[in-house]
Symmetry: C2
Subunit: 363 residues, 2 copies
């Protein structure tokens, strides 16, 4: 039973799982390259599958696929794993879509330490025109749309039994809407005062937490016909853990090692990203600290020196410690939820390991 999958489930960054998911993604992209929707599109299919292959190969923890397989194991899944890995891969493809469109909106220059897709596509289709950057952004928008469509196709061709397909599609529909609403919240919050902690947590919850932890687990569980009670427990585990994941991400974005995260430390601060960390610091800042934060956060010319100063304010106001405490609280809440149901031992162990890894991660 579930224990046979334990090699792939025993750690957050399991090589075995990652390889299995990547094999599905590679084969899928090969299929799209070799069988475009029309014979007249062979060259474009080769070009765009290659672009997406490069994007996927550049990194990523394959966290969502792992959680999908874990949810399946937690619900007592057994037998043929190939539909499970295909659904898991579709979640990674959906994540790729979300990142690609995120980079288009943020006009980001790098992702995972490499040029973003729109930068690669700008170079490929520059034609020496002045609006090459616009063409690159539009191309990346279109590739994002295609990747969204591909995440659908991976699901549709997973070979699921009718009732399971129906259950999975319903969860997937909710997940997608929630992410998009969350992105919208984040976008419209961008121009407002950043001192609202509750608003920042709310954005994190909808934009990241739900589609990173809760839904992948529940989608996996649906593949093993999980009853409603199990879905509820997985939500009670996944929601706080997803928020902890995002809060850790916010800390890493300011205090992390760029060599590990693959992302310049200053990016979040330069973009004025609406985080709980920043909101807490703004709330508690004295007039001098407040003026210092207002002057540099969100400034396109934000420097490494500014970052040092901001880090000092985040520490001095206790904002950093409070966010660490928020992470611990959510971790404890998640772990408590695990005790409510007798999960298969290997799955319970993997979920606890996952919770530890999410909270302690450095990348």
């Amino acid at each position: 039973m579930a224990t046979t999958q334990s090699p792939a489930l025993s750690s957050l960054d399991s090589t075995a799982l990652r390889e299995a998911v990547d094999a599905v993604l590679t084969q899928f992209l090969d299929e799209q390259r070799d069988h475009p929707p029309d014979a007249g599109l062979v060259a474009e299919a080769a070009q765009l599958t290659e672009a997406v292959r490069g994007f996927l190969a550049a990194g990523g923890k394959r966290l969502r696929p792992l959680l999908c397989v874990l949810g399946w194991a937690a619900a007592g899944g057994r037998g043929d794993t190939s539909p499970v890995f295909r659904v898991a891969a579709s979640l990674e493809m959906f994540h790729a879509f979300a990142l690609i469109h995120d980079d288009v909106m943020d006009r980001s220059e790098t992702r995972r330490g490499r040029p973003t897709l729109q930068h690669t596509l700008t170079a490929a289709h520059a034609h020496g025109t002045a609006d090459a950057e616009e063409v690159g952004a539009s191309a990346a928008l279109l590739v994002g749309d295609l990747v969204f469509a591909w995440s659908c196709r991976l699901l549709h061709t997973a070979g699921l039994r009718e009732d399971r397909l129906s259950a999975v599609l319903s969860l997937v529909d909710d997940m997608r809407s929630e992410v998009m609403y969350g992105q919208f919240l984040d976008l419209v919050a961008g121009g407002r005062s950043g001192a609202d902690v509750e608003a920042a947590v709310r954005i994190a919850r909808h934009k990241t937490a739900s589609y990173t932890i809760e839904y992948p687990l529940r989608i996996g569980a649906a593949l093993a016909d999980a009853p409603t009670t199990l879905h509820r427990v997985l939500s009670e585990f996944g929601r706080p853990l997803g928020e902890a994941f995002q809060l850790r991400d916010d800390l890493l974005g300011v205090f992390g090692d760029p060599d590990c995260t693959g992302k310049p430390v200053v990016d979040d601060l330069r973009a004025g990203k609406h985080t709980a960390l920043l909101a807490l610091a703004l709330q508690r800042a004295d007039p001098g600290q407040r003026a210092a934060l207002d002057a540099v956060v969100g400034d396109p010319s934000f420097t490494e020196d500014d970052a040092s100063r901001v880090r000092g304010i985040f520490a001095a106001t206790g904002a950093r410690d409070t966010v660490e405490q928020m992470i611990s609280d959510r971790y404890a809440q998640a772990v408590r939820a695990l005790e409510r149901v007798p999960f298969p031992p290997a799955a319970a162990e993997a979920m606890r390991g996952l919770a530890d890894a999410v909270v302690a991660r450095t990348t």
Copy 2:
């Protein structure tokens, strides 16, 4: 049998069909407003369903839903029409997604004679900041993503029998990829020489023709379990007619009455849109005409006077007449395909009526 649907099928702009599809869309948006994926998203659900409602209400011929119902009738569909109308509505929602992202890429200011979604959203979220336009474009990109996700949800909740859902999803996956490749072709052609007629027709085929006529017909036919032979005939009918549709669109974009099309005549020319009409004119232009076209087409400051001059060149080079001939050839090809299969009489009549309307339309 099929003839009972004839009121909705008897013309391209059937009021009955339009109302039935719009009722599904309205009800669906009400559901999304009243039941967001999380209780914390009530305000955002209200705001974004309202924005999409406004977009859908601004116009549109509901051509794709009509063709879906027509494909169903052509394949002998009978019985409960509610799943058919829901799938039909999902095609309109997909079309809305494509238009919204198109407007983001083109930075269009109007659509159907009204401000585009990003202009409305720019105003709603300006916050008085300098980058309000960027926020509006990002918001429209996100709303487009949400509308794509909603087109999926409409399909998933159509209550289709397992084998039909599977057949429809497979067609829908092909349709989506083809449109996105077509958009990509169009985008990267933008900066190149416009004298390639074959390339222009190829863009029209993938970007518009397939998802406007052929796929909606075939998706409808799949809802009535059409055999492979029928799918082939619908392709032989739909492909040339889809190309004719786009060629007519190109003519209307230059020679049409803006009061009917809802789109300023100069837009296509100002954007340097890669059409067969322009390609033919460039091919046949004498040096003076060529210089005149090169000077104004694609120029952001293109005026109504420039348009008169370009119209004159399109007529004098015979480009306009050749495009009319291309439309007639495709019309004849489509009508011949209809004779290969004994369709239900009402459906055959509606398809011929549709072909006539596509070729002769003024909006």
